[in-house]
């Protein structure tokens, strides 16, 4: 093995490492180039797209899509607000209920611990399926056209409960709970005054995973929400995709109506600009929170 004074012993040769770098660069490129491409398209002028299609090197640039979003995109801002509201409010609800439930499972001296543990984890391996869940949500709970229709079906996730409970187990020693009990502290006081302050990383992990899930959700709105006022951004994008596709297939059949639909639809660049707006908050946030998310995913996948 060639010796380079700086290289630690027992590392691969320089040539091998160079090949490793190439493989990794290629894979990382595959991962982010599609997003960069969409950003470029959103800044391309429509003349350029007409002439040479979507391209990494458009003939001319334009900000029209973003100007349009700022001045006219009423539905878009409404949806942006919906997404933010659902993400923030939903995450708070999820955190509260998850923390309470996980704390009960964490307490070894809780009489019904076994039952509630099973009650939660059984849902990971068996469920009613889409259709019965849909019927229950629609006809028994009456979910439709509100923020609740998006938040309630996503409220709990057994994985989050596992992650939370594991964090409690590893960061809160049992003696701490016993000492608090001796001091006459009630369960709620113990949880909020003693347990939560030392399990902040756990809360951050579950909070971030939950926020991501709410932000990216489009299937549940597709099932329950009909009123455009309540569309979150992701579903608005899905809906547009479907409409464009529908037009492409049926434009010949229905003259006037189709052209009206087409004129209501945003242009290519505008749609790509909307994709950029959905992705940008995540792109800026996740590198900072990566550590928490990885620790959560590791626990969730190994202990699950």
């Amino acid at each position: 093995m060639e010796k380079n004074s700086k290289r630690p012993t027992n590392s691969v040769s320089i040539v091998t490492e160079a090949i490793f770098h190439l493989i990794l660069i290629a894979f990382c490129g595959l991962c982010i180039i599609p997003f960069i491409f969409v950003v470029i398209i959103s800044f391309s002028s429509s003349e350029s797209i007409g002439a040479i299609g979507y391209s990494f090197t458009p003939q001319s640039w334009s900000m029209v899509a973003y100007q349009y979003i700022i001045t006219l995109g009423h539905q878009l801002w409404r949806s942006y607000f919906n997404s933010i509201f659902i993400t923030v409010f939903g995450t708070l609800c999820t955190l509260l209920i998850t923390i309470l439930y996980s704390y009960a499972l964490y307490r070894k001296d809780f009489k019904f611990r076994k039952f509630f543990t099973f009650f939660c984890f059984f849902t990971m391996i068996f469920g009613g399926g889409l259709a019965p869940t849909y019927v229950i949500c629609k006809q028994v709970l009456g979910l439709s056209d509100s923020y609740w229709a998006v938040i309630i079906p996503m409220l709990l996730n057994p994985f989050n409960i596992i992650i939370m409970r594991t964090f409690f187990q590893s960061s809160v020693p049992g003696e701490l709970i016993d000492a608090a009990a001796v001091d006459g502290s009630g369960e709620y006081t113990t949880l909020f005054r003693i347990v939560l302050p030392v399990s902040k990383p756990g809360i951050a992990t579950v909070g971030l995973l939950t926020a991501l899930a709410y932000w990216n959700e489009w299937f549940i709105p597709m099932l329950y929400v009909r009123e455009a006022d309540f569309y979150p951004l992701q579903y608005l994008l899905q809906e547009m995709q479907a409409k464009v596709d529908f037009l492409a297939k049926n434009s010949a059949m229905m003259g006037a109506e189709a052209s009206k639909m087409a004129s209501d639809l945003p242009s290519d660049t505008l749609r790509m600009a909307m994709v950029v707006l959905v992705v940008v908050p995540i792109t800026f946030a996740y590198p900072f929170f990566q550590r928490y998310i990885i620790s959560g995913l590791t626990i969730g996948s190994v202990k699950g």
Partner: protein, 308 residues
Amino acid sequence: MKGKTKKTLMLLSMALPGAIWFLVLRYLPMAGIVLAFKDYKVYPRNPTFWNNLTHSNWLGLKNFQFLFTTKDCLTYIRNTLVYNIFWILLGLFCAVTLAIILNEITRKWVAKVYQTLMFFPYFMSWVVASYFVLAFLDPTRGLISHMLGRTGVDAINWYHEAKYWPAILTICNIWKTTGYSCILYLAAITGIDATLYEAASIDGATKWQQIKYITLPHLSTMICILLIMNVGNIVKSDFGLFYSVPMNSGSLYATTGVIDTYVYRTLSATHNIGMSSAAGLMQQAVGFVCILVANKIVNKIDSDSALF
């Protein structure tokens, strides 16, 4: 004694909101499985769920019979199984290979940058990914369509040609999941005791031998657990990948149709709740049996790695 009852009550009150949620949104639908044996119709005079249910006729196994006699359904079952099995193996190979490679990078901050970049797709929804795919495959403006056009090849209407989609879906799946599982494996690799490698290298073990005799055996528990979980999901699929990325295009169903999209389409297009429930129940039952069997097998081979 009184303190003990009070404690139990308090803890119960904490578990209660979550328990109610599980009861209504998870266990009630399990009871709703009876819909699979019913001809579920809306009862016009007073259409509450209970009235609808009790006024619908029993169909016995007719919903299931229909499921197995339609040719499409068998295609969807086949697609689901083939994609899942192939992707489990391919994904495992790619992720473990990348994790081992990443672990050999000597400059740690560069490795961190790679890690951050390859984690990116995990955060994208399939709707967003479908726009990424569209940017390349759009029949008139997409990058690939244009490049093919310039070289004189006839334009391919990607969204109408089923034969390309197994490859496209595979690329999308690898794109989205590999970085994330690579990071999970990397976390496990960095947890391995470094002195093992030092000792091996002093004894003259090559890098390849170290990987074979130290790294892979240490990963085996984690690989087993992830495999069991994947096997349990072998009849389920990532809905968005099969629905949103091919834009729910009807001419692609031969290669993009899976049980999940079939269940959804039956529900949304024909409102046939009975059939949709039947398909869902079958899916759940097969998945449930798979996870039990896989766990049993792992238990036999190495009881420490089993899930329960």
